[in-house]
Every structure is written in structure tokens, then in C-alpha cells.
């Protein structure tokens, strides 16, 4: 798993609120493309946000984002703790 540094996580938090300066945002967005752990953190932050805002949630299967990514034809990264269970190979739809 990728270790997430505090600066990046703080940037993610600000980006989530639309409050990250453009230059920092560009850096973070590049990182998001390549960092599964960071995307998992985004998912947990969004789940917490939904709870705080009083939205009803239903915990979905750990590999749902990967199944969707596979279906639309993008290489999903290996699963990481905090978003999923153990990685297992899947068939490609492409």
C-alpha cells in the first residue's frame, strides 16, 4: 500500500471542498490518477461527509468501483486497505 503523506491528505481534504488552489489541485489530480490508496481515502472521506450531512448510506461491496472500472474499460488499480478486501483477478470485458 502507498503511504500517504500529510500534505497530500490535507490537499485532498481541501480539494473535496473545492478550496484547493489551482496549482496544488493539478498536482493532486495527477496523484489521484495513480494512487489507489489516495482514492480509497477520498471514498472514506466522502462516506464520512455523507453521514455528517445526514444522508442515508448503504455500505456497498468493496470491489464495486473496480468492477465498474473494468466494465467501462479502464485499468483499475489493485485494491488497498480501507476500500476493499483482498485483491483477486477478474475477467476483462474488453
Amino acid at each position: 500500500m502507498t503511504e500517504l503523506d500529510e500534505t497530500t491528505c490535507e490537499q485532498l481534504s481541501a480539494w473535496m471542498d473545492g478550496a484547493l488552489p489551482a496549482d496544488e489541485a493539478r498536482f493532486l489530480e495527477r496523484r489521484l490518477r495513480n494512487d489507489a490508496a489516495l482514492r480509497a481515502k477520498w471514498e472514506r472521506m466522502q462516506l464520512a461527509s455523507a453521514c455528517l450531512r445526514g444522508h442515508e448510506v448503504r455500505a456497498m461491496a468493496a470491489d464495486l468501483p473496480e468492477r465498474i472500472a473494468a466494465a467501462i474499460g479502464v485499468d483499475a488499480p489493485a485494491r488497498v486497505p480501507g476500500s476493499a478486501g483482498p485483491w483477486r483477478p477478474r475477467s476483462r470485458s474488453r
Partner: protein, 197 residues
């Protein structure tokens, strides 16, 4: 840029071919959409399939999304239609009345049709909500106030800075520290309990 503007920006990127942006939208909304689908499709395994199908339909149709409504409202409608179609295909009768997107998520409890979540799943939902709530309650005052003003009151960083009489950088830091505290409790919960399809 606020929450809706960020969604719109992600949508624009998907429309330009950035599939990672779609992954971020999936991760953002899957659990809320799951609750909506669960009102129609009670079997959890089936509801996972309907959620997957809903997102795939949304991806295929996203070129037509013009931002006239909020992205989540648009996504919600796709999910409701997908869930109803699923019930028809399974020769089950979809509910005759629908619930508007803005109201649906606040109907927990009394308005719920049925929920056949397993006791373990119910426990997980409750645990998530309880952990988030308990963590916020235990935060130092300045962190609790900052995250509450942001998430519950929906204030911008500038408005929070004015309310709390502190620099915007301090607001950003306090909100981040509050989220880190919540995440520290949420992560092991999801690692150990997250359901398998």
C-alpha cells in the same frame, strides 16, 4: 469552487475521456446510491448489480449531462429507473410512487419500504454512523466547530474563517485534522467489515 462545482468539473473530465474522474464520482456516490437502490431492490446482492448497472448507464450517458441539474440528482434518476427496470425484468412489481432525490435519503426508518439487509450489514451501517458521530463529538472544540460548519452548515472556508475569526489556512488545517480523526476510526471498520459481493 463548491461541492457541486467539483462534481461538474469531474463530469467535464469524464466527458473528455478521463475515466479516473468517473472512478472518483463512483467512490463518492456509491454508498448513497446504494441506499436509494435498496429501497427498491431489497436483496443486497441484487442491489449491488443494480448499482453497478446504474453507474455503467450513467457513464454511457454522461455525454448528455449538461449540468442543468446537480450530478447526484441526475445519477439518482438513472438509479431509480435501473432499479425499476430490474424489478420488472425479475417480474416483480416496482413501487407505483417514487421519492424525490432530495427527500429520499432522509426517509430512513419510518418511510423505508423494507430492508432486508443482514444483521451484520445493518450493524455496519450503524457502526459507521456511530463512529463518525462519536469521533466528531470527541474532537477538540475548534476542530468540531470547523467540521460542523463545513459539513452540516455547508459554509465555505471563507465563511468559516470569518465565523471562527481565524485565517483560511487555519480553517483548512482544522477541517483536515477533523477528517483525519474520523478516518482513523472509519478505516479499520471498513477494512475488517466491508462486505464481499
Amino acid at each position: 469552487m463548491g461541492d457541486n462545482e467539483l462534481d461538474l468539473e469531474l463530469v467535464r473530465r469524464v466527458q473528455r475521456g478521463d475515466k479516473t474522474a468517473f472512478d472518483l464520482l463512483v467512490r463518492k456516490y456509491q454508498h448513497r446510491l446504494g441506499a436509494v437502490i435498496g429501497r427498491f431492490v431489497h436483496d443486497h446482492s441484487e442491489s449491488q448489480d443494480v448499482a453497478q448497472e446504474s453507474f455503467i448507464r450513467a457513464y454511457r450517458a454522461i455525454g448528455n449531462f449538461r449540468g442543468d441539474s446537480q450530478f447526484y440528482t441526475w445519477l439518482y434518476r438513472i438509479a431509480v429507473n435501473t432499479a425499476k427496470n430490474h424489478l420488472v425484468a425479475m417480474k416483480r412489481r416496482p413501487p407505483t410512487s417514487d421519492v424525490e432525490a432530495e427527500d429520499a435519503e432522509h426517509y430512513a426508518g419510518a418511510q423505508r419500504m423494507h430492508d432486508t439487509d443482514t444483521p451484520e450489514r445493518e450493524l455496519l451501517k450503524e457502526e459507521i454512523a456511530r463512529e463518525v458521530s462519536a469521533t466528531v463529538a470527541a474532537l477538540p472544540e475548534e476542530l468540531r466547530q470547523a467540521i460542523t460548519l463545513r459539513e452540516v452548515e455547508g459554509l465555505s472556508y471563507e465563511e468559516i474563517a470569518e465565523t471562527m475569526d481565524c485565517p483560511i489556512g487555519t480553517v483548512r488545517s482544522r477541517i483536515f485534522r477533523a477528517r483525519e480523526a474520523i478516518d482513523a476510526r472509519l478505516r479499520p471498520l471498513m477494512d475488517s467489515n466491508r462486505v464481499r459481493p
